[in-house]
């Protein structure tokens, strides 16, 4: 017997993802405008929300151009890769109890794998363009994402140790007493930094680095293929936010006393909203480090912190288990 709920859910996530990313572009600009003492988009529709539709129409009608000097197949494949991999990442996110496409027992690894695939998108996009700016952007992205990949996974191992599972449902369940954001402060810190680096948003948008490489890896992209890179970036932002909430802030669970007030999906949405706004605030506030500084930060600070976190978490957990 085929159940239709997961199919509807899949459709919902798919459309929700695309719509969410589109609305996020508008919301981000409004929010930046608010912080930066200016209006932001406010012309089309109420509060300028119509801009989302206008943007979509415009991007659809743009020239679907593949540079003759580019590697055609790879050039087209690159932007699709990031959308697919980021979208797939949502498959394991538990939005609410039983609201999940698939509860894999290796859910966390699945998520890590999917985000790693995004590297290919940016790297291949940069290399296939056969453009010098794109090449530099692609090289930067490869080294940046590959470096942060290492401890992005490691930073989550504290969480895995405490919940004893890679399944995201189990991890949420393990937080019913205390959210991991309290017991895994260092892990959270590293994961947030790695998350920004992986989704290459300002301040870690070095592959793109408008001020240095004009548009970096997507210099030669336009129209829908450019839009897909953007879609991928915003999906990535949402996915990372979902993961931060799931892994460190109790997922769909509300705070103890208030848990019953709102349905789990609403709690999840509220938390996501805060995390996303936090990322937008970071973008508004922090300058971009240099390529080598970003790499040094990763290898010389973040990696040791992660290892330290692992050792301490392990020791403390075993000690607690022995004494209790």
């Amino acid at each position: 017997m085929v159940e239709w709920t997961p199919v509807l859910l899949a459709l919902g996530i798919l459309l929700g993802g695309v719509a969410g990313a589109a609305i996020l572009t508008w919301w981000e600009r409004r929010l930046l405008g608010f912080w930066q003492d200016r209006h932001g988009p406010n012309r089309i529709g109420p509060w300028g929300i119509g801009l989302v539709v206008a943007d979509m129409i415009k991007l659809l009608l743009k020239d679907d151009w593949v540079p003759p000097f580019a590697d055609r197949a790879v050039f087209i494949f690159a932007p699709t890769a990031i959308v697919v991999s980021m979208m797939m990442g949502f498959a394991v996110v538990p939005f609410a109890p039983d609201m999940q496409i698939v509860d894999l027992n290796i859910g966390l690894l699945f998520f890590l794998g999917m985000t790693s695939l995004a590297v290919y998108s940016v790297l291949l996009g940069g290399l296939a363009s056969n453009n010098k700016y794109a090449l530099l952007g692609g090289l930067r992205s490869a080294s940046q994402m590959v470096s942060y990949e290492v401890f992005m996974g490691l930073s989550l191992m504290g969480v895995v140790m405490m919940s004893g599972s890679f399944s995201l449902v189990d991890i949420v369940a393990a937080q019913s007493d205390v959210w991991f954001c309290f017991s895994q402060v260092l892990g959270l810190l590293v994961f947030v930094v790695a998350g920004i680096a992986e989704s290459h948003r300002l301040p870690f948008d070095l592959p793109e680095a408008e001020h240095e490489l004009t548009a970096g890896f997507h210099t030669e992209y336009g129209g829908m293929k450019f839009a897909m890179f953007m879609l991928g970036e915003y999906l990535g932002l949402m996915l990372i936010s979902c993961m931060i909430v799931t892994l460190f802030f109790g997922g769909w669970m509300g705070p103890d006393l208030l848990n019953e007030w709102l349905p789990p999906i609403i709690w999840f949405a509220i938390k996501i909203f805060f995390v996303i706004n936090f990322f937008i605030l970071l973008r508004a506030a922090i300058p971009r480090p240099r390529y080598d500084q970003l790499m040094s930060l990763g290898w010389k600070i973040m990696l040791p912190i992660t290892l330290f976190n692992l050792v301490v978490t392990g020791g403390v957990l075993l000690w607690i288990e022995e004494t209790v």
Binding site: D64, L104, G107, A142, W299, K300
Partner: protein, 142 residues
Amino acid sequence: MSSPDAEIWPLAVFTLMVLVLVITMLLMSWLLGQRRREDATNEPFESGIVSVGNSQIRISVEFYLVAIFFVIFDLETVFIFAWAVAFFELGWHGYIAMLIFIGVLTVALVYEWRNGALDWGSKVRVGLKEAQTLEAQQATHL
């Protein structure tokens, strides 16, 4: 809750949907997009100037170093993954084994660090030292 026999077919459906979405997006823009070709359309962008040489060049070795580090460290994290998920079962034995393992990893990191493999680019411009010493000399002359 999570079990090996968790139904996996929704994932396949979702994958299919995502692929359909992506292909639709590409097709739509291919169908609806305008076609404009002007003189400079088919030139790579290089700030508005025709370029000399192309981007197919040998890339500086620093980028490969990063790739190698990644391979080393990311492979080793796999062991840590396995340990983490079976953490309580392995207990103190596993913990000490992992301590040694992480110790080795740290030694490798320190080695790279000390070798300067983690420093990219120079932070001082060419010829600054000479200019500064020259200026210092002249200051003492005066």
